[in-house]
């Protein structure tokens, strides 16, 4: 290789030359555009709709400002839906978190004993997550069937119930039936996330604690739990957002009944929009829901932001 000089001169200006920054905008643009058109715009439109009274059937379309929201405030059904939703959320999220943590600890413990949680265990656990929500609802609807459902059968066999419980038609039981189904479906997600969090805790910390004389419970409380908090917060935020917005499974399972006892906010909004076709009021309901989700998420993040320091 001889020392040839590079005699080719680059004519930089005669070529279309975008700066890195320009490229950045170009490449991020489509995502921004799509999201803007099909997500942000509709939300803004929904907000706008909520300020109107719009009943296509009657050809009504008038601007009423905050009137829908005033109506909302005095709407008992709205408050009932709020209560139902929050009750559902509280029960579900708590159960999922506790159960998920328990399963995660189990799998993690097995890892240290056996050197790896068995693949079949992980596959089994991910199954409910993969099942479509409507299928989940149908599976549980069948399980809850009062006459031929497996649940009542097992309860009878175990001697825990004498008469068949009509899970989905009994106003006291329906919401709990829905909670159980949701817990079944989403605990795996919580468990897997928490398991990943558990795996990031260095084993050395436990060894050091044991040498210092800490028992299993102390180790859990003082090492595992604090280090797991960022994940717990993430699980809490995501699951709460999902639980407040729940629609698919409950709608298919109970349709909101019996007697609106399982009517969550989204089901109420859906019925208002697509059954009674009140687009204005329905949008107000939906917007209220959005605000509740946003408020809850912000509340979590505010109260628990100290745990997220390392994550961000």
């Amino acid at each position: 290789m001889t020392g040839q000089r590079s005699t080719v001169t680059r004519e930089a200006t005669s070529r279309v030359c975008l700066s890195e920054q320009a490229w950045g905008y170009l490449l991020a643009g489509p995502a921004f555009l799509l999201v803007g058109l099909l997500a942000v715009l509709p939300i803004a439109a929904a907000l706008w709709l909520s300020l109107h009274r719009r009943l296509p059937i009657f050809g009504v379309e008038e601007f009423v400002g905050a009137w829908n929201y005033v109506q909302l405030w005095s709407d008992d059904r709205f408050w009932a839906a709020c209560r139902t939703t929050l009750y559902f959320t509280a029960l579900s999220v708590t159960a999922e978190l506790l159960l998920g943590l328990w399963i995660a600890l189990l799998l993690d413990g097995l890892t240290s004993i056996r050197g790896g949680s068995p693949r079949w265990a992980q596959v089994m656990i991910i199954l409910p997550w993969a099942v479509p929500t409507v299928v989940s609802a149908q599976i549980w609807a069948w399980l809850y069937q009062p006459d031929y459902g497996l649940l009542n059968y097992l309860l009878r066999q175990a001697g825990l119930a004498t008469a068949p419980i009509d899970w989905l038609a009994d106003p006291d039981w329906a919401i709990h039936a829905a909670v159980m189904m949701d817990v079944w479906k989403t605990t795996p997600f919580a468990a897997l996330l928490l398991l990943a969090g558990l795996k990031t805790v260095p084993g050395d910390l436990y060894a050091a604690a044991r040498v210092d004389g800490a028992g299993a419970w102390k180790r859990f409380r003082l090492i595992t739990l604090p280090l797991l908090m960022p994940i717990v917060v993430i699980v809490l935020v995501f699951r709460t957002m999902d639980a407040v917005r729940v629609f698919d499974a409950v709608y298919v399972l109970t349709g909101g009944g019996p007697g609106n006892t399982t009517e969550t906010l989204s089901i109420y909004a859906y019925k208002t929009l697509f059954q009674t076709l009140q687009f204005g009021y329905g949008s107000a309901l939906a917007t209220a829901m959005f605000l509740i989700v946003a408020a809850l998420s912000s509340l979590y993040l505010l109260l628990l932001r100290r745990h997220l320091r390392d994550v961000a």
Binding site: M1, G3, Q4, R5, S6, V8, R10, E11, A12, C17
Partner: protein
């Protein structure tokens, strides 16, 4: 090949001023090293030269043409990274060919020509047998050569290297140094070489710049940097073992640094009585002799703290207990003398260059 000029380059990252003010001129075909401790801004400087980032202010000129606003591919530079940055999913052949394939339509070569170039570069660097392997299957030295090949295949105007040898083991590093020197002799491409290893810089470079905290401390040929360091930082940073730097004062006809006394006549009478200075003495100029020599003219008694064997001799760290407190110097043993730790020894300062620095500014006073 090009002359590279940096004019008043400054770079801010947010609120941090990484490079306050750098001006350098690198001659056409020179092998120029930029040397400094970690965090001094040398890698940033290299990224600015490559066009991967823009300076906050200042200009970069290649052969008098302002390239400050140009993208990397329009500057005709090549950069060899510390970690080689080879494309892991491509074979060596594809790694080498990549720059040619990416070339703009005006400059692009046909497939057979690219093959020729790849074979030529592979031959030049001894990579022929590795062309179908992937980077993951290569040793560190081999990867380094592929990185060099990828850089050279475009026949760049300026060749930039970011600590290319720091990931190699000591033996490989020495042979690669020779290899790089040979490459430079043959190709004569303007090369700017960044490293924190001052030995490497001294052995390879035609000229070098010492950088500290984003400021150029001295630009000179290696020999001059070693013999006439411009300030305390350069004096202490360049050379191994580091220069002995001692606080000294004039007392009568003597210059006293701890227990060491030197005739004032040995140093230029440029400062007033009782003025404090920093005295710099290279370890080669300090001789450690057996204890019997204690008391002889010019010798000082001390105790050995550490012995560092090196090649034919050893570097010896000696502690003194003086009136102003303990002092430590590093020197070399007299030929034939094999001391042990905690031996008492006599230390003599040879007739050699003494360096004097102003303790307030760190600047050199002028040599003795």
């Amino acid at each position: 090949m090009a002359e590279v000029r940096l004019e008043r380059i400054s770079k801010w990252f947010g609120a941090t001023n990484v490079l306050p003010d750098v001006s350098l001129t690198i001659g056409d075909g020179e092998l120029f090293a930029i040397v400094g401790p970690s965090g001094c801004g040398k890698s940033t400087l290299l990224h600015l030269l490559a066009g991967l980032d823009r300076p906050t202010s200042g200009r970069i000129l290649f052969d008098g043409v302002d390239v400050t606003g140009l993208e990397p591919r329009d500057r005709d530079v090549a950069l060899v990274f510390q970690n080689y940055a080879l494309y892991p999913h491509m074979t060596v052949r594809d790694n080498l060919a990549f720059p040619l394939r990416v070339a703009s339509r005006k400059n692009s070569l046909g497939r057979p020509q690219i093959e020729d170039e790849v074979r030529r570069v592979a031959g030049f660097l001894g990579l022929e047998s590795l062309l179908d392997r992937r980077p993951g299957e290569l040793s560190g030295g081999q990867r380094q050569r592929v990185a060099l090949g990828r850089a050279l295949i475009r026949k760049p105007r300026v060749f930039l290297m970011d600590e290319p040898l720091s990931n190699l083991d000591a033996q490989l590093r020495a042979s690669m140094r020779a290899e790089l020197r040979r490459l430079h002799e043959e190709l004569k491409i303007t090369t700017i070489y960044v490293t924190h290893d001052q030995t490497e810089a001294m052995t390879l470079a035609d000229r070098l710049a010492v950088l500290n905290q984003g400021r150029v401390q001295q630009v000179d040929q290696p020999h001059d940097i070693y013999e006439r360091p411009a300030n305390l930082f350069v004096a202490g940073f360049m050379g191994y073992p580091p220069m002995n730097l001692l606080e000294a004062r004039v007392e009568g006809e003597m210059l006293r640094a701890g227990p060491i006394r030197l005739a004032k006549s040995r140093v230029a009478p440029m400062f007033s009585l009782h003025q404090a200075v920093m005295l710099g003495i290279r370890p080669e100029a300090i001789v450690v002799e057996p204890a019997e020599k204690i008391g002889e003219e010019g010798s000082v008694a001390g105790v050995i703290r550490l012995i560092e064997p090196s090649g034919t001799g050893a570097w010896i760290t000696v502690d003194f207990r003086g009136q102003d407190g303990p002092t430590t110097v590093i020197g070399t043993a007299v030929p034939g003398f094999v001391p042990k730790i905690r031996d008492s020894v006599a230390v003599v300062v040879q007739q050699a260059t003494l360096h004097l620095f102003d303790p307030a500014t760190g600047q050199r006073f002028g040599s003795a």
